[in-house]
Amino acid sequence: MQLLETRGVGKIFGRVTALEQMDLVLNQGEVLGLVGQNGSGKSTLLKIIGGLVQPSSGEMLLHGKPVRLRSQSDATMHGIGMVHQEQSLVPNLTVAENIFLDKPNPAKAQGLYRWKQLYEAAAAQLRKIEVDIDPRAIVEDLRFAQRQQVELAKVLAVEDLVSHPPIILFDEPTSVLTPEEIRLLFRQIDRLRQSAAIVFVSHRLDEILHISDRAVVMTDGRKVADEPVSALNRESLYRLMVGRQRAIRAPRGIQSDEADPSKARLQVSGLSAGQQVRPATLSVAPGEILGLLGVQSSGAEEFCRALFGAEDNVQGKIKLNGAQISVPSPAAAVQAGIGYLPANRHVEGMLKGRTLVENMALTFGLDYGHRGILVNRRAERQVATEWIGRLKVKTRSADARIDDLSGGNQQKVVLGKWLLSRRLQLLLLDHPTRGLDPGARDDLFAVIRAEAAKGLSVIFIADTIGEVLDLSDRVIVMRDGTMSAEYNLNRGDAPSEEDLVRAMV
């Protein structure tokens, strides 16, 4: 039975077309797997269906009737729930309140909360997905994965809200879950399968093939395939998604010189940060690109942040070119020549409201000043403009505000902030391709390769295994805060994706 249909739905953000002429049908009793590269428009499509974003064109039909969703709670009232990629919980409210945030409160009488009833109702929702979380807990006290489960419970509560079958959207829910949790999630999806329409987005093709009935592939805001899963396999799905066979890349021949640690660019011994990073030892050679792989809570990201001094309770020794960094802090790391491209660009990467030059000159502008004390704005401007050109940043001028750029170009500017340094030794890239289109991604990779060829060491955390294999000289897989596997691609270690996934989870 057809529940929801989009007809010619499109979305334009400013001057970027995120989604074009999308026709999509969601049926009851069917799990729709939605795949596509980053920036292919999946998230936009999901947000439109979830009421977070208003389409620029086209219409949506719910049970055959046109519908306009003004907000998320509006969508909720129509029986549409969405599990977000970025969590949408209010941190200082209880689990129970968050579950019913966008829904009529089940425990309100004469305008007053009946907390006990509310907790019971929430507990019922949590029981439904078989998780053991106290509905009275404050969300910010929960671990990330637990919050994800609350988010799931919040969305699944939608099914009690409407008489007709609900529509549940999952925006990359599995990337942060443990296998056990993924299994629970799939059990939920299986339970819902008959009574709901489900959209499931994931980068993991195996999961798509495992759980979906039908797969839709998107590229550049357009639908390029819509086929039953039975007609697909991994290779065909990949080809549809990327548009080409996976390229086999030639090794670049730079090797980590483990025999002579004195020549190592970076030497880390016993580096740990609280619970998330267990003591780790590692060295990186000049010019080497080291890929780090791991699911969200594996500690890969935290390891990089600890290296940069951005985590609390950092223990262990970090030596750069043989000299130890005394107090781990971002300022000390920068001083020593370590750069970090953060995963959360908007909060940690860019200075909003400021120009490209101001953003790029912030950290290493003084490299071009007089004696490292006085600022030379002309020189800074010149070098920033030069990098804007080299990174192919699409902008009208170097004095445009960074907010006015698209995500990919913003990312290039943030990268430029580090690359314009004359003394950068090591660059940490934390999910650098998030929100980047394939073209921008290729530009980015090209620049990183070129810099590495000049001797810059790079540690790189990727969104997909493909990216890691594409760029790295060496791959380290992390799991539960420790390094679980290592492959030296240049020495002929060529792990299959299956090998890597096995090491990850």
Partner: protein, 330 residues
């Protein structure tokens, strides 16, 4: 290859330079408000623009302007310094207390002490991560108690011989020296802000603190510096005040705190940080100083002065605040 992708090329705006022009226009608003204000009062009360009147205005406005300029620096980082008026008041008291020990160098010592105190307070705020509002509220209370204690709550005459105070109280070319002192202060700070990384880092902290920290900006050091400057400016403002009064008093600067906050905001500096600057402080200080006398100039009845001041300040803030750069308004 990216050049042949018009569909994903989002950065060719319909009107080139539109955003810049708008920003430039916005920056001009406070100045326009100031000119409008002065213009209107000049019509209502002719003679306000005579040289003698302007000189009087300069000498009255200088302490306030110095305070506003000083307060601007922490506010640029998104913090706020509520202790400025307290510091300005205690400056005079210290001058009297310390004069027997340091003789002609007392002014210098007092300003240095203020810088030190400000740095300490900034360090407390940034290192212990106590909100600046409450940190400086606490120190304000302590400062006022201390100045009452030190002065035994009385106004005392300054030592006659203090060379710096005498210089400040004097005039050059018939213009009060406090006016020149303000100019010198602005010039020095402007040079520091423009030609060292401090200025850039201050703005960065205000515009996006997390991003700034992750770019290697040294938060604790910078905040200590910002609060040191604001305290130092407050001490200078105190000196400018006592150069006029020739007396110290534990409550000398009184309500200048509120006026200085109004001044910072009126210049177009956002209270949330990252937007504004010294120039904004100068204009804002002038607007506030003018608002303070405008109620008298245009002949508002004394009972109405509070209301007129409040309403004019609100209107001016409405006009001068650039909301395009601020996301969530708290």
């Amino acid at each position: 290859m990216s050049h042949v992708q018009p569909a994903t090329d989002p950065l060719v705006p319909a009107k080139p330079g539109f955003a810049e022009r708008r920003a430039a226009l916005r920056r001009g608003v406070p100045l326009a408000v100031l000119i409008l204000l002065v213009g209107v009062s000049a019509i209502i009360a002719p003679g306000t623009l005579s040289p003698a009147a302007l000189n009087g205005f300069i000498s009255d406005a200088a302490p306030l302007m110095i305070l506003v300029i000083g307060s601007t620096i922490p506010i640029l980082t998104g913090s706020i310094d509520l202790s400025v008026a307290g510091i300005a008041s205690i400056t005079g008291v210290m001058l009297v207390v310390l004069a027997p020990i340091f003789g002609p160098w007392t002014c210098l010592v007092v300003v240095l002490l203020a810088l030190l105190f400000g740095a300490l307070q900034g360090w407390l705020h940034a290192w212990l991560q106590i909100p600046s509002f409450i940190t400086t509220l606490g120190t304000l209370s302590m400062l006022s108690g201390l100045s009452l204690l030190l002065s035994n709550a009385t106004a005392q005459p300054l030592p006659d011989s203090d060379p710096f105070i005498n210089l400040l109280g004097d005039t050059s070319f018939d213009i009060p020296n406090t006016g020149f002192a303000t100019l010198v202060l602005v010039a020095v700070l402007a040079l520091v802000m423009r030609y060292t990384r401090i200025g850039r880092d201050l703005f960065a902290l205000g515009a996006g603190e997390r991003a700034a920290l992750m770019s290697g900006v040294r938060n604790v050091r910078l905040r200590s510096f910002a609060f040191a400057i604001s305290a130092g400016c407050a001490a200078l403002a105190g000196l400018a005040l006592v150069s006029v009064t020739q007396f110290s008093s534990p409550t000398l600067a009184g309500n200048l705190l509120l006026l200085s906050i109004v001044g910072v905001v009126l210049g177009g500096t956002a209270i949330s940080g990252g937007v504004g600057g010294l120039w904004a402080g100068v204009i804002g200080g002038l607007i506030t100083a003018w608002l303070r006398v405008a109620t008298v100039l245009i002949g508002v009845k004394p009972t109405g002065q509070y209301i007129v001041f409040g309403v004019m300040a609100l209107i001016a803030v409405f006009l001068t605040t650039d909301r395009t750069k601020i996301g969530i308004i708290k």
